[in-house]
């Protein structure tokens, strides 16, 4: 084992810092635990928890804005005499506040995935029991959960407010349920797209810009072309144009299936048949995002 000559150099220093090594005989919780730990660390991190005070500012501010808007809506509903329902539909909320949601995912998706890539920490994960699929699933689920908190919390506030205002319970419960399904779909879609863009642009600052670009440029383009189609009386095109931006996809799905009023020009979203196409596109994008992320991490550090 250790030869005479081999220990010569080690000995004098080891005497000095010999403070007794304790081996570890406790439990090793394995992959599922590591995945859960990574999930909770990423989820907390997307609200700045466990990070510097500076990194808490933006996500907390955005979350605050979402909640504040819903509180104002509740206050209006309660204060205005004779109201029988909330000033907006549950499904409208995320569409109106899409810019806030866009900023959130644009700032937090790079935080979730780009750092590990930029600082080359990824090989440290994959040299442990945790595998690529665990890493991708944990990040994807955490980002989805963060968006669900951001978009779901205001709906909960609206629902509680509606109950306090003694609006019709069945009516409100249905609307709330539809709204939650819609934001869940939005969260998983935005998380997937945001993570893909961030994982492909690990350079500092670039990820944020790229995510914003993907969300706003597609929305800007789609809504402009839709407006032109509306003015040139080609209403049929409006329905299909909505397939080309994330937020109009969600708008389409919730108009077709979740009782929402479309924000498309003319208020005329897809019907059930076109709605199926919308839903399939959303699901394909989510699956595609997962596949791209898995690919992205295939050769990292190898």
């Amino acid at each position: 084992m250790s030869t005479e000559t081999g220990t010569v150099a080690g000995n004098d220093t080891s005497r000095i810092h010999n403070i007794g090594y304790r081996s570890y005989d406790g439990v090793r919780l394995g992959r599922a635990y590591a995945r859960r730990s990574l999930y909770s660390q990423t989820l907390r991190g997307s609200f700045g928890l466990g990070r510097s005070a500076k990194s808490k500012v933006l996500p907390m501010l955005l979350c605050g804005v979402m909640c504040l808007v819903s509180l104002i809506l509740v206050a209006v509903a309660i204060a205005t005499p004779g109201m029988t329902k909330l000033p907006i539909k549950y499904t409208d909320f995320a569409i109106y506040l899409q810019a806030v949601i866009g900023l959130f995912i644009a700032s937090q998706a790079p935080q979730a995935v780009s750092r590990d890539l930029r600082f080359k920490s990824v090989p440290l994960y994959f040299s442990r029991p945790i595998e690529r699929v665990d890493y991708v699933l944990a990040k994807f689920a955490a980002m989805t959960s963060a968006l669900l908190i951001l978009t779901g919390l205001p709906l909960v506030i609206l629902f509680v407010g509606a109950l306090l205002a003694k609006f019709d319970f069945a009516d409100q419960a249905k609307g709330f349920g539809q709204g939650m399904v819609s934001v869940a779909l939005l969260s998983v879609l935005f998380a997937g797209l945001g993570l893909v863009v961030a994982a492909l642009t690990p350079r500092r600052g670039f990820g944020v810009a790229a995510v914003i670009a993907v969300l706003t440029i597609t929305y800007g383009a789609v809504s402009t072309v839709q407006a032109i189609a509306w003015q040139t009386d080609s209403a049929g095109a409006i329905t299909w144009l909505g397939l080309f931006s994330p937020i109009t996809l969600i708008d389409g799905v919730q108009t077709a299936f979740l009782g929402a009023t479309s924000a498309f020009p003319g208020g005329d979203g897809p019907g059930a048949a076109a709605g199926v196409v919308y839903l399939l596109v959303v699901l394909a994008l989510v699956a595609g995002s997962y596949a791209v992320l898995m690919r992205r991490y295939r050769r990292v550090g190898l």
């Binding site: 030869t3 150099a9 810092h17 590591a34």
Partner: protein, 339 residues
């Protein structure tokens, strides 16, 4: 007991063969893996971690097959990459705790082990500060700590002395030695410097172009017996002082080692140095008395230990690359032993 075993392990990339039918059998202790840039050291480590499939051949780590039991290997092994891998915006403590949890340690154990491990690698107050402000030496210690935090059976350290100054290098090597002697963890450590591993390792494996050049225990070639290098002046009575002294010493029963080898090695002035095997105090006296008796001037008489580098000079055709990286060793030791 075998810690790492490979059997005609090959790894071919489209344009290069990174590993070429490498067969190794590495036991517990500290093993050095030496090779010049591109020799295939990092490639071997990635295969051993089960992260990159071999093109051909087999490998086992701690008795587990790398192709099928990679997950089990990664639970028991620690890995320190050669490149930077630390985020600058978190503290060493936060980072190592996170990595401990990724290895499956429960939260409390992860915190305790992190505190212990950082202390063992010599990080104290600074461990609460963001890593971005650390020196290269401190960063290397954090990288080592994350490889040790889950108390593995074996650590694979890829060029841990990279970027360190001579003092930092020595400290890191001392630390690596302790990982085995005090922590009981086997170590595979890579370097492209042959010289620096000999004091640290029990065993050295040299690869070049992905093929095995040599695998030996360091005790095989780092001799425990001391060799004295003696250099003398010539005088009028003895125009070849060195030769006269050699004869006198041989007559006195002192054993000389490898004078001819020195000529073969072609070292400047090598022909004027006599290598004397010192069996004890009395050898020094014999040499001194012989030199005085011949009326020669003693230029120097010094102790030296054999260096790994010398072993490779005895190979028929040492690869230029290895010989070059062993340069440091050549200057110090210039003898040739019986290998």
């Amino acid at each position: 007991m075998t810690v790492i075993a490979t059997e005609s392990l090959s790894k071919r990339f489209p344009r290069v063969t990174a590993l070429d039918r490498l067969s190794l059998d590495i036991g517990p202790g500290v093993t050095g893996l030496v090779g010049s840039n591109g020799a295939g050291k990092s490639t071997l480590i990635k295969i051993l971690l089960g992260l990159s499939p071999a093109t051909e051949g087999r490998a086992a780590v701690l008795g587990l097959d790398v192709a099928t039991e990679g997950a089990a290997i990664r639970e028991r092994v620690g890995y320190m990459p050669e490149h930077d891998c630390l985020p600058p915006d978190v503290s060493a403590t936060e980072f190592v705790v996170h990595m401990a949890r990724m290895s499956g340690l429960p939260p409390t154990a992860a915190r305790e082990r992190t505190a212990d491990t950082l202390r063992h690698v010599g990080l104290y107050e600074e461990r609460y500060r963001p890593i971005g402000g650390y020196s290269t030496g401190m960063k290397q210690r954090v990288k080592l700590a994350q490889a040790l935090v889950h108390d593995p059976k074996l650590v694979l350290l890829d060029e841990p002395t990279n970027g360190l100054d001579p003092v930092g290098r020595d400290e890191m090597l001392g630390l690596i030695r302790r990982v085995h002697t005090d922590f009981g963890i086997s170590v595979l450590v890579t370097s492209h410097l042959l010289g620096e591993l000999e004091r640290t390792c029990d065993h050295v494996v040299v690869i070049d172009g992905g093929a095995l050049l040599r695998s030996s225990s360091t005790s095989d070639f780092t001799q425990i017996t001391t060799t004295l290098a003696v250099e003398v002046t010539d005088s009028d009575t003895h125009p070849d002082g060195t030769d006269a002294l050699r004869r006198a010493l041989t007559g006195a029963g002192v054993k000389l080692v490898g004078h001819d080898g020195l000529d073969a090695a072609g070292l400047p002035g090598a022909g004027h140095i006599l290598l004397v095997e010192a069996t004890g105090e009395e050898t020094y006296d014999v040499v001194r008395d012989s030199v005085a008796g011949l009326g020669l001037g003693l230029i120097r008489m010094e102790q030296r230990r054999h260096h790994i580098a010398e072993v490779f000079r005895t190979e028929e055709a040492p690869r230029a690359a290895v010989a070059a990286t062993a340069g440091a060793g050549q200057q110090k030791g210039s003898g040739r032993d019986e290998h």
